[in-house]
């Protein structure tokens, strides 16, 4: 729907929507934008998803300037509405941190606030109808545009890995390098406490290390992939709803084509429009009751393919309403898990 002169198939449509705008080195050595998934994959690791970066930075700066403008004017008097809103978010995050993070750190609360609001903003991009920004971008000559950064695994894993780095940092700060490494190899089976002979220690430690490294690495992976999975699935459903709408109109269009051939005559549209107007006029004159009018209009809309349009809008709206819950919840979960993981990193097992 968004680009190209000929209509894409459903598969192409979905693929197009799921393709990031990738900037990297082409196979021939020149740098530029990848056209198509295959080209993007060829670019290897040293490529950048420009859309993800731009939108996430945009959202990050929105967060920063929104909160900074309030913070600059913040006073202890009667708060303005904006200040009250920002403060309620800050209060909410602060309470969550105080409840879940045991220990003192100046970093954790701002970290939690940043994660929560930033991820919420990025998720919020999902509520913009799927075709709007890609269509605008393609009109401006940009072939691909994936506007929700959190549907890009790079963005979510990037944040998760940053949290992971902090987890390790906090572990080492609380327990020292020795304590941190010791926890990796002396848990859950402590050969010393179990009174094992020295000979088997390396095996037990290797076994422990395997278990512990998995549980350690599971943290960033669960953090990043949970957010990515939820948002990706949500985005996909939006795309599918958009497809249903398109396919619906296409289906009716095909029905009409079978009646009239390739070219639907103008008199059909005039007739359809006139019928709708006549129906409404009769209702106004009291010749048709409301129920009958509704059925007539629905039938007429169905005939010209409008029903699919209305249905698509309704489904889109319904899913968007439900999605408001998801985007908030996912932002909250990411924040809470980060706090909990960082709190766990500080405690001794």
């Amino acid at each position: 729907m968004s680009s190209g002169s000929e209509a894409p198939t459903s598969g192409e449509y979905i693929q197009h929507h799921l393709q990031n705008l990738t900037f990297g080195q082409h196979a021939d050595g020149s740098w530029g934008i990848a056209h198509g998934a295959a080209e993007a994959a060829e670019m290897g690791f040293w490529a950048f998803h420009v859309d993800t970066l731009v939108w996430s930075l945009l959202m990050g700066f929105s967060f920063f300037f929104m909160f900074r403008s309030v913070a600059k004017k913040a006073n202890s008097g009667v708060p303005s509405r904006g200040q009250a809103m920002v403060e309620s978010i800050v209060e909410f995050v602060d309470t969550s941190v105080k409840e879940s993070f045991h220990g003192t750190s100046r970093l954790i609360a701002p970290l939690a606030l940043t994660l929560f609001v930033w991820i919420f903003f990025m998720n919020l991009m999902d509520l913009i109808p799927v075709d709007v920004l890609p269509f605008a971008a393609s009109s401006a000559g940009i072939p691909y545009q994936k506007v929700v950064p959190t549907t890009d695994v790079n963005a979510t894993m990037g944040m998760a890995i940053a949290v992971f780095v902090l987890i390790i940092f906090y572990s080492i700060r609380a327990k020292g390098v020795k304590g941190f490494l010791g926890e990796l190899v002396f848990n859950p089976l402590n050969p010393e406490q179990l009174g094992m002979p020295k000979v088997v220690w390396p095996f037990v430690m290797a076994f422990n290390f395997l278990l512990e490294i998995v549980s350690l690495l599971a943290k960033p992976v669960s953090l990043g992939l949970r957010l990515f999975g939820n948002m990706y699935a949500g985005e996909l459903i939006f795309i599918l709803i958009a497809l249903i709408f398109t396919a619906g109109s296409g289906f009716v269009g095909a029905g009409l084509s079978s009646m009239f051939g390739d070219h639907i005559p103008a008199w059909f549209w005039l007739l359809a429009t006139a019928t709708v107007f006549v129906t409404l006029w009769m209702n106004m004159k009291g010749l048709l009751n409301n129920k009958k009018t509704l059925w007539f209009v629905l039938a007429e809309l169905f005939l010209v393919g409008g029903l699919a349009f209305v249905g698509g809008q309704l489904m889109h709206f319904g899913w968007a309403v439900f999605h408001i819950l998801i985007i908030t919840l996912q932002a909250f979960i990411f924040m809470m898990l980060s706090i909990v993981y960082l709190s766990m990193a500080q405690t001794h097992h």
Partner: protein
């Protein structure tokens, strides 16, 4: 879903935003909120204190009113006492005055009576002498019969 260097940039971006937040957003907001919390706590405490002060003032007022009322009662009592005192005194004075006047009147009356009696006696004596002289047809020598005469006068 290809992992690429976006990951690294996103990671850096996140750390930078967290640092921004930690540096520029969190401290002023929390400071304002804490200050407001302190203000509100102060305000509540002040209102508590004011309420207590008001109660105390009310009690004090009641006490003062009670004292004033007692005092007023006392004054009224005193006035009443004084009133009756004055009345009594006036009565006493009046009675005294009356008695004095009565006594004076009586004294005057007694004096007048005595005087009248003396005059009467003298008159009677002279009448007696005159009578006797006429009876005796000779002049009674007053000097020789003084004794007799005095006896006669005393008998009247």
């Amino acid at each position: 879903m290809n992992m690429n260097a976006t990951l690294i940039l996103q990671m850096i971006a996140m750390l930078v935003f967290v640092w921004f937040c930690m540096k520029f957003i969190w401290p002023p907001l929390l400071k304002a909120m804490d200050e407001r919390r302190a203000k509100i706590a102060d305000g509540l405490a002040a209102s508590d204190r004011a309420e207590k002060a008001l109660q105390e003032a009310n009690q004090e007022v009641e006490k003062q009113i009670k004292v004033a009322r007692d005092k007023a009662g006392e004054i009224v009592d005193q006035a009443n006492q004084r009133h009756s005192q004055i009345l009594d005194q006036a009565k006493d004075d009046a009675i005294g005055e009356r008695q004095r006047q009565v006594a004076a009147g009586e004294a005057e009356i007694t004096q007048s009576a005595n005087q009248a009696r003396e005059e009467l006696r003298a008159t009677v004596a002279s009448l007696a002498v005159l009578g006797a002289r006429q009876i005796l047809e000779k002049e009674v020598d007053e000097d020789t019969h003084r004794e007799l005469l005095d006896k006669l006068i005393a008998e009247i």
